[in-house]
Subunit: 410 residues, 2 copies
Amino acid sequence: MAIPVSPLAVPLPELPAVAGVRLGAAAAGIRYKGRTDVVMAEFPAGTTVAGVFTKNLCPGAPVDWDRAALANGKARVLVVNAGNANVFTGKAGADAAKATAVAAAELVGCPVKQVFLASTGVIGELLPHERLTAALPALHGTLSEASWEAAARGIMTTDTFPKASTRVASIGGTEVRITGIAKGSGMIAPDMATMLCFVFTDAKIPAELLQSALAKGVDGSFNCTTVDSDTSTSDTVLLFATGQTKHKKVPAEGGASMLRDFRAKLADVLLDLALQVVRDGEGAQKLIRIDVTGAVSAKSAKRVAMAIGNSPLVKTAIAGEDANWGRIVMAVGKAGEPADRDKLSIGVGGTWMARDGGVVPGYDEAPVVAHMKGREIDIAVDLGLGSGKATVWTCDLTHGYIDINGSYRS
Amino acid sequence: MAIPVSPLAVPLPELPAVAGVRLGAAAAGIRYKGRTDVVMAEFPAGTTVAGVFTKNLCPGAPVDWDRAALANGKARVLVVNAGNANVFTGKAGADAAKATAVAAAELVGCPVKQVFLASTGVIGELLPHERLTAALPALHGTLSEASWEAAARGIMTTDTFPKASTRVASIGGTEVRITGIAKGSGMIAPDMATMLCFVFTDAKIPAELLQSALAKGVDGSFNCTTVDSDTSTSDTVLLFATGQTKHKKVPAEGGASMLRDFRAKLADVLLDLALQVVRDGEGAQKLIRIDVTGAVSAKSAKRVAMAIGNSPLVKTAIAGEDANWGRIVMAVGKAGEPADRDKLSIGVGGTWMARDGGVVPGYDEAPVVAHMKGREIDIAVDLGLGSGKATVWTCDLTHGYIDINGSYRS
């Protein structure tokens, strides 16, 4: 089945080199035919690394591998394959991950614990790692500073467009670059991490500071998105800092204040990538932003927003271009968070439709109807209880989702 | 849009009279054309009542009304309308509920607090209660002991078949009858209650004992089902005991032991009705039973089972007749309950497919493929950690669900 490109797709941005990052893609024939499915990136000695991973309790073998490798805070190479997630594959899966890491470490000449891995695709089938390692030597010979689009395409599964984002940040007056690529379309309900996302910078930043910047950025981006409420077993975000651009030294102790702009731009890149993933949500026709205000806490606001964003009835109503605020009321009420029906206000596209437990007197549906026909839908919910707020992004639930997930094994 | 009858539908059983219960249905034109939409049931003086209601924090006005009325433990009349849920309608909604109760109380000649109400249908629109009350006098004149099918049909919304169940139970050697009707198809994720369900018996049982029997029965039936994870604002289960059959007196103190058979048969009726609701799940093509064993507790087992039953990826895979156990692994892991990937076993249709963190050696897919083509799908998950177990029922997620919920306002 050919899946058309998402109507919410955005074009790939210009992606200049990130000093120290050389990357590329190759076709290893792991599952797909006639396309690239393995991506490699090599970094210079001294590159620091940060990572956040799925909270799913049945993680894949590459997630186990990376968690252990992350303890060293150093990275020289990243190997990613698409088509097979190497999840729930037992000891054979762990062996496949190790064999891949050993092969990559030999090519680059580095300790095996400086190799990072990620796999995405079908769960429960053995990864044919011999095909993967057989493809690595030739791929290693082709790595270049320019192959960003190839890398972004090589990690796709049911994605309909490649996803990348780039920003320039200042550290002590010196410009550094931050570039990320991501994949993801279904099984999207990130919890402390998400999908596959790889971010690269030429800044020189101690691993501890890199980790804290990444965790904060992921919390405000990927962790605020959902496509289908299903948390993947492979969610991985890795951030590599090559240190190839000379700037004022960022000390491990007390260096955080120098990273204000870096952290802001990193957060931008992560949010841009997270929204690209939602825009490519399986079957998505509309991007939905849900702003919840007036909750008793930020945590409570987020739970209410997620209850709305994960409600099949809300998502199908939006697919049908129906501003069905009754279903939004239902989702607020089922969230289990403090809510008072008679203090609740609901708006769509900037028009408040319901307030104080009932429809707004003289409510004019016309601007709401027009808004619902658009590609980007804004829902506002004010609980009227406190100052807690949160924003969550999701997409609608359409026949496309059923087609993609009911018709063949992905 | 015409919705075809669910392929999982079951025929309406024979429904003999329940001594003391007189009921009927009429067309009040509240929302639907050319069909009945208001149901009334009258009970003799001395009838006791029990009820459980939605935990959704934005409940409808009829739920508020019933909660208050239940304090008295006595009932003389039940009025139900379909087409408008009278939810999120503010003070006007509460007034509409009260006006309906006053009109019914006058017809029957009883205190207004012995009237029970339920409404189902669209949320957020004012209930045109004048049409409802205008229809009551003629409807009251037609009540009979035989009108069970009319009542079961009169409460339907997107339901494709009427739902009823009946059992005979013994109290101290005397036979009593228990008959229930229910409606429900979407917005089904009951939490301590569900949808609209009305159960009637001719036994004479103190209200406190009736309440405890009902709460227990609902916990093992409706609360173990889900169609779409969306908890309704109107979920209501009411149980009326007319006391018209003479049997050994059931004392309020210490009478519970006499109700062992009654409670068992009541649980049967409730489970039968709950499964009929799942069989009529919006767009359902397959009934799915999920048995989780080996959890650290029954509560933990139920959460894992619900995570599987609410996973869009599991439900679409089953719609596609794909025994995609990778998605079941994902759902187990996302539940957030204790789980160990390497102790997990997964079976479908009696065949264990995965065990000890990987596929079962020599696994033969043929019987599983055959099972997946059937109407009733059994999933077994053993967590291998303890003795906690739970069973949950759900249905698959198909294009029909999108059609029903994305195409018009229900």
